[in-house]
């Protein structure tokens, strides 16, 4: 096989996909967690219709985000433990590009499938169809930002004693713009305004992260490898 960019790219994507396929119980854990949150909310808020319509959109978002966060800080940990990261570091491809590919693969194979569950949960909570449609779009865009933030946090916490305690603290403050603009889109749709300005701002945040995140992650992975 010739060694060029295209072949390396295909090999990387294939390797990542296989590793996600083998740890499929991670994905199942996420779904079980989401279902648990969706069931718990109506039981704790009370099943009355008007209370639930106020918070129903937030419930779906919280279920998605809380189930993603535990996997988000483990993007590099298995590669770090079995030595793949060092191979990436010495490969002719830039570490930043490999990180970008890893983030995209993580996003595409682990997060995008979750969008299938948004309509199901939304119907359970009586969310109107138009908002379900916008929710799927926002989640598809915003979750890419989440993956890039998760890449920063998981590379910063490589080699810690207990990375579970710090990583939510690292992820939440960085992810706040995504929440604000995502919520802005939904609020605009609910009150019949134009949702596009907020959507553009959301895309802007994700694009900025797309530039910054691989640089920071690559730098902190280099630090983690030279310890």
């Amino acid at each position: 096989m010739k060694i060029n960019f295209k072949n390396i790219l295909i090999a990387l994507v294939e390797k990542e996909f296989k590793s996600y396929l083998r740890s499929i119980n991670n994905f199942i854990n996420m779904i079980v967690f989401m279902i648990a949150i969706i069931i718990l909310f109506p039981l704790t808020v009370g099943p009355s219709e008007e209370k639930l319509t106020l918070v129903s959109n937030a419930i779906v978002w919280i279920a998605l985000i809380v189930s993603i966060i535990p996997t988000l800080d483990k993007i590099y940990i298995s590669d770090y433990k079995n030595g793949w990261l060092e191979q990436y570091y010495y490969s002719p491809l830039l570490l930043e590009i490999i990180i970008l590919i890893k983030c995209f693969v993580f996003w595409f194979f682990l997060i995008i499938p979750l969008t299938i569950f948004i309509p199901i949960f939304s119907i359970l909570l009586n969310i109107p169809l138009l908002i379900i449609f916008w929710n799927i779009i926002i989640f598809a865009i915003g979750s890419l930002g989440f993956c890039l933030i998760g890449s920063i946090c998981s590379s910063l916490t490589l080699g810690t004693k207990s990375n579970n305690l710090i990583s939510p603290l690292l992820i939440l403050p960085l992810a706040i713009p995504i929440f604000i603009f995502g919520n802005g889109v939904v609020e605009a749709v609910k009150s019949n305004y134009d949702p596009l300005p907020n959507l553009y701002l959301l895309i802007t945040v994700c694009l900025i992260l797309l530039i910054i995140s691989p640089l920071i992650s690559a730098y902190s992975i280099k630090i983690a490898l030279t310890k």
């Binding site: 920063i152 080699g159 004693k161 305690l165 710090i166 690292l170 403050p173 706040i176 902190s220």
Partner: protein
């Protein structure tokens, strides 16, 4: 000057004679400032006596953000020139900044209850201050999370630089959004809009807090240096 003081031993010799006087200054300024603000400053025409919370709330808030700025600058120095002393300074500043940001939120909510009728609102200024507090927690958490303490320095420095995005948001949040928190009244383009009689005790309190934070940071730096020497002695003993 910076190069000269970057050596820990020279730094310790340099601060030895002035350290005590900095402590005395901070005590004096805070004492005079507290007296002026509690007994010798006018009441606000709307807020009455509760305006006196401002004389500690504003210094806490300013120094919470200034100390974060100093952590970030020290982190930039540490990442570019790899000088271990910059890391020690950043680590020594962090606990004080955390305490200041927590006290900002506490005094602010004590002030907000009588004035706004609520302890807390999800207002841009308040939320960004809370995020600053979380960044301090994350900084301290990540700098102590590694088995060898020194391994945490570089990730923590990167985090401190990333968290710098939050500082302009705190400063300009009251101008960019319609907030319940009042807009800036001291650092403005058209000069301070605060009453002169209120400005004097506030400036004295700010000076007192400046000296106090320098004093506490110097103590922290000395402690961290001693800890580092102790660790290297242990390594020598094997």
């Amino acid at each position: 000057m910076i190069n000269y003081l970057a050596n820990p031993n020279r730094f310790l010799n340099f601060i030895k004679p002035i350290e005590f006087s900095i402590g005395v200054f901070s005590f004096l300024f805070i004492f005079i400032g507290l007296y002026l603000s509690l007994f010798n400053s006018p009441e606000d025409y709307q807020q009455g006596d509760t305006v006196r919370i401002m004389y500690i709330h504003v210094p806490f808030a300013w120094f919470a953000s200034f100390l974060y700025l100093s952590i970030s600058i020290a982190s930039i120095f540490f990442l570019i020139w790899r000088h271990p002393f910059a890391d020690i300074i950043a680590r020594s500043v962090a606990p004080l900044g955390l305490i200041f940001s927590i006290l900002t939120i506490l005094t602010g909510s004590l002030w907000g209850k009588p004035m706004w009728g609520t302890w807390w609102v999800w207002d841009a200024r308040l939320t960004s201050m809370l995020i600053l507090c979380i960044f301090y927690f994350a900084y301290i958490g990540i700098s102590n999370a590694f088995p060898r303490k020194i391994d945490g320095s570089k990730p923590a420095a990167i985090l401190a630089i990333v968290g710098m995005i939050n500082l302009p948001i705190i400063k300009f949040s009251v101008d960019w959004w319609n907030t319940l928190h009042q807009p800036a009244s001291i650092i403005r383009f058209d000069g301070p809009s605060i009453n002169q009689e209120m400005l004097l005790p506030l400036v004295i309190m700010l000076l007192g807090f400046l000296f106090m934070s320098i004093f506490i940071i110097l103590i922290n730096i000395k402690t961290n240096l001693i800890y580092k020497k102790y660790q290297s002695e242990i390594l020598k003993l094997g």
